[in-house]
Amino acid sequence: MFIAFYYLLRACGLKVSMNEWMTLTEALDRGLSGASLTGFYRLCRAVLVKTEADFDRFDLAFAEYFHGIESPETFPDELWRWLAEDVQIRDGNDKHMLDECLLELEELQRRLEERLKEQKERHSGGNYWIGTGGTSTMGHGGYHERGIRVGGEGRHRNAVQVAGERKFRDFRQDSILDARQFQMAFRKLRQYSSRLEGPRTELDIDETATQTGDNAGRLTLVWEKPRKNTIKLLVLFDSDGSMLPYGRLCNRLFHAVSKSSHFKDLKVYYFHNCVYEHLYKTPHCRKGEWIDTDWALKNLSQEYRLILVGDGTMAPSELLRKGGNSFIGLYNDTPGIEWLNRFRKRYGKSVWLNPIHRQEWDYTYGSHTLGIIKEIFPMFELTVDGLEAGIKKLLSGR
């Protein structure tokens, strides 16, 4: 069995279990690959890959393993046997009746070479010569189901090279994500307790039995309160300025947070570059539309979990000096870093989410202040994986 493919998949980070591999073997024995590499590709993916986030990894692995597709002798023997066997028992009602349709790669390869020798000029259309368009098995931009592409862009996805196209790249989990995925991550931020107010809707069996017994066997139903999430969340967004390029990403995060109805309380405020005396109520950061930062620190209790979202890149003075506030007409007596320290001290369970990719943190414009902030708050990348790691941190604390 071409077990090397199994290990390649696992090496590529796909969690393929032995069970699934056995299922694939069984499927191949039953001829489910449909006598074509495309069918084999679909079968492998359906059986072995269980989330669209991994499709891209699978495509890469598949393309790597079956890379020598143009030279069929490098094909694993066993795979060939399967494909070849199935050709003989193939349903005669197959919609293609042309003899070339039943050819497999090896044969195609041979004919390609032959025809290359025969052919002396450029062709377009038609069903025999190598060229563009048409229904010949060779060339590109054509309509044959299992042809060899000779240069050019594939117009139809049914060429055998389908895996190489990586059309599921966008679904990779480590890439930037959408609101729903954020929301999914936020659902993990919960801590249950039944000691909250709310209607009593769950039947308490034990208490019902006891009370019914006490009541001389007359049925007395006792209801209790369902368990609820007790997490309170405070989110501070950096808005405007250097955050503009990440607007859409932050917007999605914002919607994910505000849609997550399972928090006991949620407070969202905004700041410009760094936190000073005021927290703005709107992302526009307008003078007057704010609350005092001191008020927040005093009134929002320590049990709040704190998420700061920002790139952390600014002029060093904005973070470290008095009067560093870049907002014209506002002077701060306390440097920004001091405010950040106060937040960190007050809220032990806090993290900083940064839309800049982790590998750029040390080099990006403004990496100096980013580095300082990273020392104060545990910092995570604003991706699904980063958010999940951050939420774990928020739950477990230091």
């Binding site: 069970n19 499927a27 679909r42 359906a46 059986v47 989330t51 669209e52 019914t212 607007g247 917007n251």
Partner: protein, 284 residues
């Protein structure tokens, strides 16, 4: 795959891609649940219906809600009713069987004929929900404690499970499924789908509407992109109103049919007017 009798080929009212058709047949032959994921409006739920029609089998739907528990699908033991009955001397309290009600899964198990069982939107339930069903879906049997009765399948149902990816599903559960992701249909596939629903739709209207539809879908600022069902509704609205063709692209009439959120409608208007949207924060 011609040698398998139970083969799904699509149905008259449902356009199925080759990949999806293969996935369905793989699941049927291997007797494993088929897990279907995809954007809302890509016809996940319709698929089960198409399979049931295509193969001429009864369809049993188990709709999952946030409060659904695995036990609900197997059976319910109506204790409260039995207690009340004993209190007021009604019914035959000694016969526990009459207080056992089979759930959808139970119904599918006891059916004499093979059925298609749709477990719809499994991700709506609690995170642990799929794990609680592992044994039942694997072995296709469960035990009723109260009556000491084993419920077993005669013929394994064809199990279709849909998910909107609201929650991640546990690995142990995923390992037992065949998986397929329904990508949003490309324009030519979409045309085919539209024609199945409206066979005599006006050519020019369709071309115009599709062009505007895919343009709107490309706007990344949207919170909820319109799906297939929205497009179908919109085409119907356009056909009935008899709006002149050139107005479709210029004005996008009945945009409320395509977009369900006011903010999205504003965004589209803004993009069409200025060529971009400055709406980064839509909460204000």
């Amino acid at each position: 795959m011609g040698k398998h009798t139970n083969q799904f080929k699509g149905s008259g009212s449902y356009v199925v891609s080759d990949e999806l058709r293969d996935a369905v047949n793989i699941a049927i032959v291997l007797k494993k649940p088929l897990l279907i994921k995809g954007e809302p409006g890509t016809g996940k739920t319709m698929l089960a219906q198409a399979i049931s029609e295509g193969l001429g089998k009864e369809l049993i739907i188990w709709n999952i809600k946030s409060t659904t528990k695995a036990q609900d699908g197997l059976y319910l033991y109506d204790t409260v009713q039995r207690l009340y009955d004993s209190q007021f001397g009604e019914g035959n309290v000694a016969d526990i069987k009459q207080y056992i009600r089979l759930g959808k899964l139970g119904e599918a198990f006891v059916s004499e004929e093979q059925v298609v069982l749709l477990i719809d939107e499994i991700d709506k339930a609690d995170l642990e929900f799929p794990n609680d069903l592992l044994w039942e879906l694997d072995r296709m049997e469960f035990y009723i404690n109260e009556t000491r009765e084993m419920i077993r399948t005669n013929v394994r149902p064809i199990v279709i499970i849909t998910s909107n990816a609201e929650k991640e599903l546990p690995d142990a559960f995923l390992r037992r499924c065949i998986f397929h992701y329904i990508a949003f249909p490309e324009p030519d596939k979409m045309e085919e789908i539209v024609r199945v629903h409206y066979p005599d739709i006006d050519e020019k209207l369709l071309t115009q509407a599709m062009e505007s539809f895919y343009k709107i879908r490309e706007m990344k600022e949207l919170q909820k992109k319109p799906g297939t069902s929205e497009l179908l509704d919109w085409l119907q609205a356009l056909t009935f109103s008899g709006i002149p063709l050139k107005k479709i692209a210029a004005e996008i009439p009945f945009i409320g049919v395509l977009l369900k959120k006011n903010q999205d409608i504003d965004t589209v208007a803004e993009i069409r007017e200025k060529g971009y949207s400055a709406k980064r924060w839509l909460n204000t």
